[in-house]
């Protein structure tokens, strides 16, 4: 069986642009929530002097992540900001002094065994850098290590434009393999699979050369069919197993980790410098010179664009991430987050939403959905507000990859409908559960 997908224009304009380090911005805004889970608790206050790598937000609860200062300078305020999804979240605004002094208490972590390894990963502030932002220490902190048959390293980078993972492989390939060694040593993993799309020839070659010197590493060169990097798709295309609905890759004996996340962990084990900066691809039709830049986390998008060479014209739409699954940001003041791998700035022409016309029942959506959902039927069920039908249609399986909307000749907003349908299904499931409980009483 082959999973469906779509061919999207690659637009990997920046694949050959080695990242350049940008001048430190005047100030950074670091949100306390850049991960899935509970926001971190700010542990600094106005006027505090901070240095690079100093803890400013402490993980609050189990599913949470530490947050460190990305600049040296003075805390201007601990404020509230509106995130791109509209939620109000706490943030720490730091005026940078431009010195970028490293926090003196930083030392490489002492790692002897699995537990100390997981604590180190937790302390590093690592989250899924591919975009999901799930705290990495939870993903790696597997209770029963014998359940892991393989670690799949996600280097597919299937979104158009983005090349930051490609740069990780080219510039920090050694760290990817040091990360593999660490997982071997502390977690006892024996099999590693690096999944890369075939449009990244240089990265494939580099990974193959390094893999030749390491035991147990397979390089899977995958066709450039979007969404090759979707977790479920990648796991199926590498180990031929389907992750059960509502389950995790571990249910089929796999851990999936983004290539940049893995390289970062290896680097952290060596230096002890936590996650404070990111390599970000700056591209899009409004950008003067597409490039990869390394910036402190919290750098406002405005400063990022300026530092990367500025814009050709007024921006019409700005995205965190790629054009298929990226999030449109409400303003240029939004900061670069831990899981920001690209900032795409579109001009008016590229951003112009296509005209929606009536559905012609061509079936392109259901014939291109990697998870074999039927977006047309989901849209109908949503229109009828039928939770029962939505449950049968498994809308909760949808990963919002965007294939359906992309391929739709009528340009129906199918992903949007799926998102709404998921909310409807959750409401339906909750009310069904409440009713059942009532009956039991």
């Amino acid at each position: 069986m082959k999973l469906h997908g779509i061919r999207v224009p690659h637009k990997k304009n920046t694949a050959e642009c080695a990242p350049v380090r940008m001048a430190v911005p005047a100030s950074v805004t670091i949100p306390m929530s850049m991960h899935i889970g509970k926001p971190a608790k700010a542990v600094v206050k106005r006027g505090d002097k901070v240095k690079v790598g100093q803890l400013i937000g402490e993980a609050d609860g189990f599913v949470s992540s530490n947050i460190y200062s990305s600049v040296s300078g003075t805390v201007q305020k601990v404020d509230e900001m509106t995130a791109s999804n509209g939620a109000k979240i706490a943030c720490v605004v730091i005026a940078a002094d431009g010195q970028q002094e490293i926090f003196e208490e930083i030392v490489p972590p002492k790692v002897k065994d699995f537990d100390s390894f997981i604590s180190a990963v937790r302390a590093s502030g690592a989250v899924g850098l591919g975009g999901a932002g799930f705290p990495t220490f939870i993903k790696l902190g597997v209770k029963d290590l014998s359940k892991i048959d393989a670690v799949v390293i996600n280097a597919a980078e299937c979104e158009p434009y983005i090349t930051s993972d490609t740069r990780t492989m080219l510039d920090k390939g050694e760290y990817v393999f040091k990360g593999i060694e660490a997982l071997k040593k502390y977690m006892g993993v024996k099999r590693f699979i690096i999944g890369i799309e075939n449009n990244k020839k240089a990265a494939v070659q580099k990974m193959q050369a390094l893999a030749a010197q390491t035991d147990g590493v397979e390089i899977h060169v995958l066709p450039s069919v979007y969404p090759q990097g979707g977790e479920k798709v990648l796991v199926y295309n590498t180990v031929r197993k389907i992750i059960p609905k509502g389950g995790l890759p571990l249910d089929v004996g796999v851990i999936v980790i983004n290539v940049t996340t893995l390289a970062f962990i290896a680097e952290y084990l060596e230096t002890g410098i936590p996650l404070v900066e990111k390599c970000v691809t700056v591209d899009g039709s409004a950008v003067k010179e597409p490039k990869n830049v390394i910036v402190p986390i919290g750098t406002p998008i405005e400063a990022l664009i300026e530092g990367a060479g500025g814009l050709k014209c007024d921006p019409a739409k700005v995205l965190y991430g790629g054009p298929m699954m990226g999030i449109a940001v409400p303003s240029l003041a939004e900061p670069v987050l831990k899981n920001t791998n690209a900032v795409i700035v579109m001009d008016e022409k590229e951003a112009k939403p296509p005209k929606t016309t009536p559905c012609i029942s061509c079936g392109a959506c259901l014939n291109h959905c990697p998870l074999r959902l039927d977006p047309r039927a989901i849209a109908r069920a949503y229109k009828l507000q039928s939770g029962e039908d939505l449950e049968k249609l498994c809308v909760d399986l949808c990963m919002e990859c965007g294939c359906c909307s992309y391929i739709c000749p009528a340009n129906r907003p199918l992903v949007q409908t799926n998102k709404l349908a998921k909310i409807k299904l959750r409401e339906y499931a909750a009310s069904k559960k409440a009713e059942q409980e009532k009956e039991e009483k």
Binding site: P160, K245, V318, A351, T357, P358, R372, P409, A410
Partner: protein
């Protein structure tokens, strides 16, 4: 600073639109249109023009009347008009062609909700209604202008009557120089159009292959002339252009195969055991009615793995 656009992902879309799909179908129908003019003369062009114009006009007026969004520019009514014209004899009175177009667009398409909502193929249904209403003019086959046969009967009518002399040669069948509806006779032009649609990804091969193969196999099993059956009647236009209509046929691969086989079987039943010499139109209409059931039967199964609660 101007305001930034905010919207749900994806932020790009593919190049395909309803309009350019329909344009592809129109392009695919052009060889057959040209062939009809060569075979049956300039009146074919008049009939095609009248059908296209009245389909577009009735779509425009009906949508205006119902205050629906205007969809004339999506070109689907042009496709309906061309297909309807192709299913009429060249001698059809103009007023009947106009009436047929109005039936196709207003009754079969718009009354059911417009594009994508109709359950039956507009052109085919209109043709069947016209065959019932105007059985005389609808079967007034004329001898093609460049014909090599004298009989004006269609090849299938000739074959049904056992009229060996009236049966055209394979070459004549392939080129379409024999009696029949103005756009259905030239297998060559229709196959060219079909290949274009396949190459452009507008249709998939499943329906036409299943349809034509079923007719071929069944003809063989029934001891009939396979090539003759495949090349005559409305099979080519039906298999490539009508049985592949999006709204009225299943969307899944297996659904399309079942649909094609069903069409083939009904066509054979009507041709060999029915009262009518030709059954392609009826077979597609009947299968249109079964489409929701076939769709349900062949629905994609979501990849839930072993479902975890």
């Amino acid at each position: 600073m101007n305001k930034l656009i905010s919207s749900v992902s994806p932020h790009v879309s593919g190049k395909r639109t309803t309009q350019n799909i329909m344009l592809d179908v129109v392009i695919a129908l052009l060889p057959a249109a040209v062939a009809s003019v060569i075979i049956f003369g300039w009146r074919s062009l008049l009939v095609i023009g009248v059908c296209v114009a009245s389909c577009m006009l009735s779509e425009f007026l009906f949508e205006k009347l119902c205050r629906r969004e205007n969809t004339v520019l999506d070109l689907s009514s042009v496709v309906t008009g061309m297909l309807l014209a192709f299913n009429l004899p060249v001698t059809i009175p103009i007023w009947q062609a106009v009436l047929g177009s109005v039936i196709a667009i207003v009754v079969v398409k718009q009354l059911f909700g417009g594009i994508g909502q109709n359950f039956a193929n507009p052109a085919i249904t209109a043709r069947i209604i016209m065959m019932t209403a105007f059985s005389g003019t609808m079967t007034a086959w004329v001898t093609p202008e460049i014909a090599d046969v004298v009989s004006s009967a269609t090849p299938l009518a000739a074959a049904a009557k056992g009229n060996k002399d009236g049966m055209p040669s394979y070459l004549s069948l392939f080129l379409g120089t024999h009696g029949g509806c103005l756009g259905e006779t030239c297998a060559l032009a229709l196959i060219l159009g079909g290949i274009y649609l396949l190459a452009r990804g507008v249709i998939s091969w499943h329906t036409p292959v299943a349809f034509i193969a079923t007719v071929a196999v069944m003809s063989f099993l029934c001891g009939k002339d396979v090539l003759y059956q495949v090349l005559s009647g409305g099979l080519m236009i039906g298999a490539f252009f009508m049985a592949t209509d999006y709204a009225t046929t299943p969307s899944t691969k297996w659904g399309k195969v079942i649909f094609g086989i069903g069409c083939g079987l009904i066509t054979i039943l009507i041709r060999f055991w029915g009262n009518l010499p030709e059954g392609v139109s009826f077979s597609i209409l009947l299968m249109n009615i079964l489409t929701p059931y076939i769709s349900k039967l062949t629905q994609n199964k979501p990849l839930t793995g072993g479902v975890k609660a």
